[in-house]
Assembly symmetry: C2
Homo-oligomer: 114 residues x 2
DNA sequence: TGAACATATGAACAAATATTCATATATAAT
DNA sequence: ATTATATATGAATATTTGTTCATATGTTCA
């Protein structure tokens, strides 16, 4: 909560920056959204179901992880409205619920591959 | 590490999904990148410096946080190649080092605001 | 109805991480 | 040179979070 002499010069800039900042709550929502993308298991799941729906068990098999771990992560993805599901008999099939997911990934990959 | 009866039906799908998955290392890189975006302090910093460069002290003042906390987070952003800096006398001025940052934010906001 | 199966979930544990505090480094000014 | 200022950084702490384990729920099939 300190200040520096820069402020004398840049006081205006700080004030200007403050005005340009989005609402506090939006910033938290944004960070929370990206937090969901910030785990390799969830990234793998999202890629796995990006071409066609898959059941929980198959995702677990594909990623070599337990059903429980996958189910917990699907819950997180569901809460973030990134995946949707369809129940059929004993199985539940998950698929992407957002066209932004692929765009966000694409931008991320562009940053990595430059 | 279990399997289910779905696999008998969807064995092909699992194999197909496996082939469509990007390299393991890319997925980790991607998750690590989004992890950087997944913290509200870092999101705030990125927004703060998105219009013009700011010194560490001013960012701290703007966000109402300690210089130390901001400096630690700037280090994370630097390592992810999301910010660049310019030293001038005692001060260090940080600015965005990637045109993708704004695009990624934009996509994130579109998801939130739908 | 009972057994087998697919998924979900709560609690516990382990690992990762954000902030604070103290201090180091580096530049500027007197 | 000494002092003040701006930033960086290591260690410690507190919190968050991912996985595991055990178990609950719900569906199918004999």
């Amino acid at each position: 909560m300190s200040s520096c002499d820069c402020n004398i010069i840049h006081e205006e800039a700080v004030e200007k920056a403050r005005k340009l900042m989005p609402e506090e709550s939006k910033l938290y929502e944004l960070a929370d959204l990206f937090k969901v993308f910030g785990d390799s298991t969830r990234v793998k799941i999202l890629y796995a179901i990006s071409d066609f729906e898959m059941c929980v068990c198959d995702i677990a098999l594909l990623l070599g992880m337990t059903q429980s771990a996958i189910s917990h992560q699907l819950r997180v993805l569901k809460q973030a409205r990134l995946v949707k599901y369809r129940k059929n008999g004993k199985s539940t099939f998950y698929s992407l619920d957002d066209e932004h997911v692929e765009l966000i990934f694409k931008q991320g990959l562009m940053h990595i591959n430059e």
